[in-house]
């Protein structure tokens, strides 16, 4: 009996040490990517190619989701606000919740599942088919040539995608509240413009999405580079990318929000 207890304690310890070891690996990998990203700025065409794959091809899902999120916000906000006779505040509600929270967070979650998983699968498969080792043999650094351009492409694309998501969302809210339901157009825009502050709300939202972009792409490239070189390993790494990114986004969001919006000025 004591032996079984000891082995189960050992199993817990093993897992914790394993987790911390992986975290250390990821941190070292991240620093390595930053150190070797000089090449991707000198040969910027590499980054442009990746921006096309992670940014331009994610546009459809980001824009459509943004539109629908905004429309739902407009509808739900109107339902509640009309009880208090302040349905013109629906513009404020839609704009503030999109610019501060939903824009950066939702687009980062979509980005992680659309582009992050693709990055992981691509790099993982390159590793499984020994393309990365072949590069190493030819004295081409795979981190500088493969990983860094993808990382920077994600970091550049994320704030742009988040801004487009917010704009589409505001447009969706406008469509539902003003065009379909018939809230006064002037008070919709003016209440929004009174409540949304450029520095406090919009810039903070952009800063948030920059952090999310770094987190999502760093996780994606690390999981791909770290994936066991088998079919099963690559599929597991892809799943881990989506799950870890989602957790990282939501956790980071809470931390950033508590720094940015303390509730009291």
């Amino acid at each position: 009996m004591p032996k079984r207890i000891i082995t189960s304690i050992q199993a817990i310890g093993h897992r914790v040490i394993d987790g911390i070891w992986r975290l250390g690996c990821a941190a070292r990998f991240f620093v390595l990517v930053l150190l070797k990203s000089m090449t991707s700025f000198l040969r910027f065409t590499l980054v442009i190619r990746e921006i096309y794959f992670v940014g331009v091809l994610s546009l459809i899902i980001i824009l459509v989701s943004g539109l629908f999120v905004g429309m739902v916000l407009g509808l739900q906000g109107y339902e509640t606000l009309q009880k208090y006779g302040s349905e013109s505040a629906v513009g404020t509600l839609v704009a503030l919740s999109l610019v501060r929270e939903l824009g950066p967070v939702m687009s980062a979650l979509l980005f992680a599942s659309r582009a992050g998983s693709a990055i992981t699968a691509e790099i993982g498969l390159m590793k499984a088919t020994e393309q990365l080792s072949a590069m190493g043999m030819m004295a081409v650094d795979p981190i500088a040539r493969i990983v860094a351009p993808r990382f920077w492409a994600g970091v550049i694309s994320m704030p742009l995608l988040a801004a487009m998501f917010s704009v589409m969302g505001v447009f969706g809210g406008y469509l539902v509240a003003v065009v379909f339901i018939g809230v006064d157009e002037g008070s919709f825009w003016s209440s929004m413009q009174n409540a949304v502050d450029f520095r406090y709300d919009i810039v903070n939202g952009v800063i948030k999405s920059c952090f999310f972009g770094v987190a999502v792409t760093a996780i994606a490239v690390f999981e791909g580079f770290d994936a066991p070189p088998t079919a099963e390993g690559v599929s597991g790494a892809t799943t881990r990318t989506v799950v870890t990114s989602a957790l990282a986004i939501l956790g980071l969001d809470f931390v950033l929000t508590s720094f940015m919006f303390r509730g009291v000025d």
Binding site: T45, I48, R49, I51, Y52, G55, V56, L59, A95, V99, I156, S157, P159, L160, L161, A163, M164, S166, V167, V170, W189, M192, Q193, N194, V196, D197, F198, R199, Y200, D201, I202, V206, D265
Partner: protein, 152 residues
């Protein structure tokens, strides 16, 4: 895919993203009315500021002329010291009256300026001498009940 086509799409993507940020700034936010540059500060002591917050608007005749930039508690006079930044375009006489008002029944609080008739104008760092505190609902209800009791 051909290089030039990809470049075109990425260029379009980046431009759309920047455009989205611009729309957020101009149409959703209040960047157009947001004036950080030309402004002068005034100070006012208030007995009670109620729920006034930093960045609350300062209005005169309903027009936004500035914003609250700082709120401190004074240990000398034991009241609130409110610093406001007024757009340099707007000048007010020395005997301007500042009061803390509420927009609507449950709306946000702001500072209302009613200009007096003095020839001299308020300048950078000046103190607004005439101030009127925020109306606190509990105090008003209390006073009302007290008056009612006194009548009987």
């Amino acid at each position: 895919m051909q290089r030039t086509i990809m470049d075109f799409w990425v260029g379009l993507f980046v431009m759309t993203g920047m455009g989205a940020l611009l729309i957020l700034g101009l149409k959703v936010g209040n960047l157009t009315t947001y004036n950080t540059g030309e402004s002068y500060t005034l100070i006012g002591n208030f007995e009670n500021i109620g729920g006034l917050k930093i960045r609350a608007p300062v209005k005169s005749a309903g027009v936004v002329v500035g914003r609250v930039t700082d709120i401190q508690f004074s240990l000398e006079t034991y009241d609130a010291v409110v610093t406001v930044g007024i757009n340099a375009y707007y000048r007010f006489p020395k005997d301007t009256f500042a009061s803390i008002l509420t927009s609507g029944l449950l709306g946000e609080q702001y500072i209302g300026l009613s200009p007096g008739g003095d020839e001299e104008m308020l300048a950078e760092g000046d103190k607004i001498m005439k101030t009127n505190s925020a109306m606190v609902l509990e105090e008003m209800v209390g006073r009302f009940l007290f008056d009612k009791a006194a009548e009987d």
